[in-house]
């Protein structure tokens, strides 16, 4: 149904309205107008947050903690390489189309609750970037950028990681939307590096159902979407081997993400966006709480 909505903005609005907004709260504590709680002082806490009145009453050092609503910085990292232009059936979105809709919806939701949303688009290099901001006009800027994207070029996640290392110096939420079909074997290690830079990393792994089920039978000339390679094979002859390789790879991606505290969300492009976003947002709310 989503694919039938013509424009990205329309798809984003339709999705956003279906999602319960404001499920998450900022995990950051500090300068805020709203007092949250007291916490017993521990070495390392800033002395300026010590509540001296409470010390006078209880003869113990307590530190005041505050809630703030709008200080999350989120980078939406969208893969626009050639492989993202694939769709296995005419009634489905391409992987890039699905990623743009997902990214736009997330931007909409973030800005709506005063979080800052930024965008980085990459293929073999970063081709477009918007620094995270919380103004409502940011959503329009992001959607405009996404709307003009076409798939092309090789996938090089390293380019996006280098860009973020340079531009995202503060702790940020990094949401990568990609099919991860990068020939660079360091791909998963690069994602783990982002996490080590204290960013909260989420990987939306987008895959077309045809990539997961391999519904080919007849002799077919498979052509690469990112370079000039091609291979001729009869679908039914190679299906079993393909599915085994694909299954092993998916398991490997999930395992490495888990080991490196990277949230991994596998997304089939025939899956409703609600089904993807709602569990994701719910998990984030639980973790924030």
């Amino acid at each position: 149904m989503l694919a039938r909505l013509a424009g990205l903005r329309l798809r984003v609005r339709a999705t956003a309205e279906g999602v319960i907004s404001g499920l998450h709260r900022s995990p950051h504590h500090g300068q805020s107008v709203e007092f949250s709680e007291h916490k017993e002082y521990a070495p390392g806490d800033e002395l300026r947050h010590v509540d001296w009145k409470a010390f006078g009453k209880f003869d113990k050092y307590y530190v005041k903690r505050f809630e703030q609503e709008t200080n999350l910085r989120a980078w939406l990292v969208v893969d626009a390489s050639g492989s993202m232009g694939y769709r296995g059936a005419d009634d489905r979105l391409t992987k890039l189309g699905y990623a743009c809709t997902l990214a736009g919806t997330l931007a909409h939701l973030l800005v709506r609750q005063q979080d800052a949303a930024g965008l980085a688009v990459f293929s073999d290099k970063v081709t477009a970037a918007l620094t995270p901001r919380a103004e409502p006009s940011q959503v329009n800027a992001i959607l405009e950028t996404l709307d003009g994207l076409t798939a092309g070029g090789e996938t090089r996640v390293a380019a996006a990681v280098s860009f973020l290392a340079e531009r995202a110096r503060r702790r940020s939420a990094v949401m990568v939307l990609s099919d991860l079909l990068d020939r660079d074997e360091r791909l998963l290690r690069l994602l783990a590096d982002l996490r080590r830079r204290r960013h909260e990393v989420t990987v939306f792994h987008l895959l077309d159902p045809a990539e997961l089920d391999f519904p080919f039978d007849d002799p077919t000339l498979f052509q690469s979407m990112e370079d000039s390679r091609s291979v001729e094979a009869r679908g039914r002859d190679v299906r079993k081997g393909y599915l085994e390789l694909m299954g092993r790879w998916l398991e490997e991606v999930r395992r490495v993400c888990g080991e490196n505290d990277v949230e991994y969300v596998r997304v089939r492009t025939d899956q409703p966006l609600d089904d993807v976003l709602l569990p994701f947002l719910a998990r984030r709310e639980r973790s924030a709480a």
């Binding site: 050639g82 492989s83 993202m84 694939y86 992987k95 099919d179 079909l181 020939r183 077309d208 990539e211 080919f216 007849d218 002799p219 077919t220 000339l221 498979f222 052509q223 690469s224 979407m225 990112e226 390679r229 091609s230 291979v231 001729e232 094979a233 009869r234 039914r236 002859d237 190679v238 299906r239 079993k240 081997g241 393909y242 085994e244 390789l245 694909m246 790879w249």
Partner: protein, 719 residues
């Protein structure tokens, strides 16, 4: 050990084995191009499965090729000729060999694209090739000679080979018993005394009709006494059953219902060892050479074995000799699929009816009933009626027969009439009130079979009791050609004829040659005939109108008058002798003043070799021995003028020997037993004299084809 094929021509089917390769090369499906993101996995999967897939493709290709090749080979009926211990082998050492080559008609049977004679020739040539340098040999060509003979064995291999190669296909019946006896006699010749063994090789088709197993088996006279030769029978039919169907009989009988020259042709068709068949075409052709045409097409229902009969009718249109051929579609032995017959169709008989007492009242007119009887629709007689005055002006040479009814006397025509009869004309005289016996005696003395005497009245017609007193015909000569047609109840039509009045005849002189065909019950001749020169004269003692006799209203009148007219014209005795059989001597009876100048065979070519045997100077006239079936024609020379011509009246048909059409084969054991058992005789059903055992391979090939089919199915359905 060698491989041979029963149907080598079918090996062309092996080309089908190239179909999978051709499909692979020329009809390969182009793969559909599809852009795909996870191509690395596809490439890796293909690399991992490539070896297995390649093996599977090779196996699939092999299975399909094997399936087609095995099926094609199986159809060609391959067999492995494995050597086995030689049977019928005597002591070691050089052998004198006598070879009998059957060239009889049945050897023309076609099997697997070759005639049996062609196979037999190859077998014999192989035997000759295998002979050692110290082994003499001789050859008997067994093609129907009454007394075959063989030269003593010698070492002229070139001559023998030439004789084998030149041995022509015969069409006669061969008596192999006689031929092997002649071969055994040759082996007993002192020229073969140096050889330690005597060997008899017979290349034949093993048809039962060629052997007389009740005769003594061949024995060779050797210095040590009579001995049985080693016998090898080379089966040219390779153990196959020889089914055959042939036209076994053809007879022609007049059938007036069809037309004035109508005939009924009885065609007998026989079969042996063939499947029953429906709607087998049978055709009847008339004429010969370029003028031959099919006049009747019919369908037969044939039993598997035995005979069936079909009757076909056709009006042969014109008189004279006509060639008729009944034929079946050609089969493996086409020489016996047609029989030819020469039918002498009676000529039209021109009769001059002289009405001596014309009457305005039809039923009292003497010629009214006769003219009606002779002019029937199927009658070969053409009658012209004149009165006494017209008779005086008539030219008798224009007619075959003159029939005078109640004519006072021949008058001035008497001399011409006598000359007419002397030269072969026929004369019929019927009595009546106007007939004057004295004038007949004066004008035509000696012309009539007997002199006329007086009229006798048995009863006055119309008076009480006249019917009972009337004279009846008795003592009828039913064997006379003119009356032979009356059989059974039909005779009553003649026996019931009554005469109230009739002419008594004076006794005929003994030298007049008169023959009484019928008498009245008082013994007086009623119908009497005599030959005068080349002609015939017949006299009826009563009238051919109801005045004296009631014959005209009897059922016998019409056929009797037509037959009598034919008889007097000489048409009834033009009967041809039966067709000859191939190889049977046929005496040729040539009319006086003619000599045989040449013989034309069924192919229309002059047979100078056979014409020599037809020497007219030989005692008993020329004799011809036709050597093939079909129509034979004679070219004759007029001794007076020296002119030569082909006389259709002397043509004759020659039929295939029915014994050669019967292709039932002997069991090999019967024949070996007759020769003295398996100790001395063996049948080589593969035609190989060396002794070999045939191992048929077609069943194994079929099994291979089935296995390939199953394997192909498994490979196609496997993932």
């Amino acid at each position: 050990m060698s491989l041979s094929f029963l149907h080598p021509a079918l090996l062309w089917g092996l080309a089908a084995a190239a179909i999978p390769l051709a499909i692979h090369l020329f009809y390969r499906r182009r793969p559909k191009p599809v852009p795909f993101p996870a191509i690395d996995f596809v490439m890796q999967a293909r690399r991992e499965t490539e070896r297995r897939l390649k093996l599977r493709r090779v196996l699939l290709f092999t299975a399909r090729t094997a399936l087609l090749a095995a099926a094609a080979l199986a159809i060609a009926r391959p067999q492995l000729d494995a050597p086995e211990a030689r049977a019928a082998q005597g002591p070691a050492g050089p052998a004198a060999t006598a070879i009998v080559l059957d060239t009889s008609a049945s050897m023309a049977y076609r099997l697997g694209g070759k005639t049996l004679l062609e196979r037999a020739r190859e077998d014999v040539l192989e035997v000759l090739s295998a002979l050692g340098p110290d082994e003499p040999a001789t050859l008997v060509i067994c093609g129907g000679e009454a007394a075959p003979s063989a030269d003593p064995p010698d070492f002229d291999r070139v001559g023998l080979r030439r004789r084998v190669v030149d041995a022509a296909q015969g069409y006669a019946h061969a008596d192999l018993t006689t031929c092997v006896a002649a071969a055994a006699r040759a082996l007993g010749d002192p020229a073969a005394a140096a050889a330690r063994r005597r060997r008899l090789v017979v290349a034949t088709d093993l048809t039962a009709s060629a052997w007389r197993l009740d005769a003594q088996p061949p024995v060779v006279s050797t210095p040590a006494g009579p001995a049985r030769p080693e016998v090898t029978l080379l089966d040219a039919a390779r153990g196959e059953r020889l089914g055959n169907r042939w036209v076994s009989g053809l007879v022609a009988e007049p059938e007036p219902a069809v037309g004035s020259h109508g005939y009924r042709f009885g065609v007998a068709v026989s079969g042996e060892g063939v499947e029953a068949a429906r709607d087998v075409p049978l055709s009847l052709r008339v004429g010969s050479g370029k003028e031959e045409r099919t006049v009747v097409r019919s369908l037969l229902e044939l039993p598997a074995s035995g005979s069936t009969r079909k009757t076909l009718a056709h009006d042969l249109a014109a008189g004279g000799p006509v060639v008729v051929t009944a034929s079946l579609p050609p089969d493996a032995l086409p020489e016996d699929d047609a029989l030819t017959l020469v039918v002498d169709v009676p000529r039209d008989v021109k009769v001059l009816v002289v009405n001596g007492a014309p009457s305005a009242v039809r039923h009292r007119d003497a010629a009214y009933f006769l003219e009606a009887a002779l002019s029937g629709p199927a009658s070969p007689v053409r009658a012209t009626v004149v009165d006494a005055e017209g008779f005086g002006k008539a030219r008798l040479a224009d007619f075959d027969v003159v029939m005078m009814l109640d004519l006072r006397s021949p008058g001035p025509k008497a001399a011409e009439l006598a000359s007419f009869v002397e030269n072969g004309g026929g004369l019929f005289v019927a009595m009546g009130d106007d007939v004057d016996p004295d004038r007949y005696e004066a004008e035509a003395k000696g012309l009539l079979p007997a002199p006329l005497h007086v009229v006798k009245t048995a009863a006055e017609r119309g008076t009480p009791g006249a019917e009972a007193k009337a004279a009846r015909l008795a003592e009828i000569d039913w064997e006379h050609p003119a009356l032979r047609i009356f059989t059974g109840q039909a005779r009553e039509g003649l026996e019931s004829v009554r005469a109230w009045r009739y002419m008594l005849l004076k006794p005929a002189p003994r030298e007049s040659g008169a023959r009484v065909l019928a008498r009245y019950d008082d013994g007086a001749p009623a119908l009497i005939e005599a030959r005068r020169g080349r002609g015939r004269v017949m006299l009826y003692a009563s009238t051919l109108d109801p005045e004296w006799s009631d014959w005209t209203i009897r059922t016998s009148f019409l056929p009797a008058m037509q037959r009598i007219a034919g008889w007097l014209a000489g048409a009834l005795d033009e009967r041809r002798s039966a067709p000859s059989v191939v190889g049977a001597p046929r005496p040729l009876s040539l009319p006086a003043g003619l000599a045989l100048a040449g013989v034309l065979g069924p192919d229309g070519r002059e047979r100078r070799d056979l014409a020599a045997s037809g020497d007219p100077a030989r005692e008993g006239g020329p004799v011809l021995t036709p050597d093939r079936p079909g129509l034979w024609q004679l070219r004759i020379r007029d001794l007076a003028t020296g002119g030569e011509r082909i006389d259709p009246a002397l043509s004759f048909a020659v039929w295939p020997d029915p014994r050669e059409s019967d292709t039932r084969r002997l069991e090999p054991s019967e024949l070996t037993a007759w020769f003295g058992g398996e100790a001395v005789a063996r049948v080589a059903s593969d035609g190989k004299p060396g002794g070999s055992r045939q191992v048929p391979l077609w069943s194994w090939l079929l099994l291979l084809a089935i296995a390939a089919f199953l394997a192909e199915g498994l490979l196609v359905s496997s993932p």
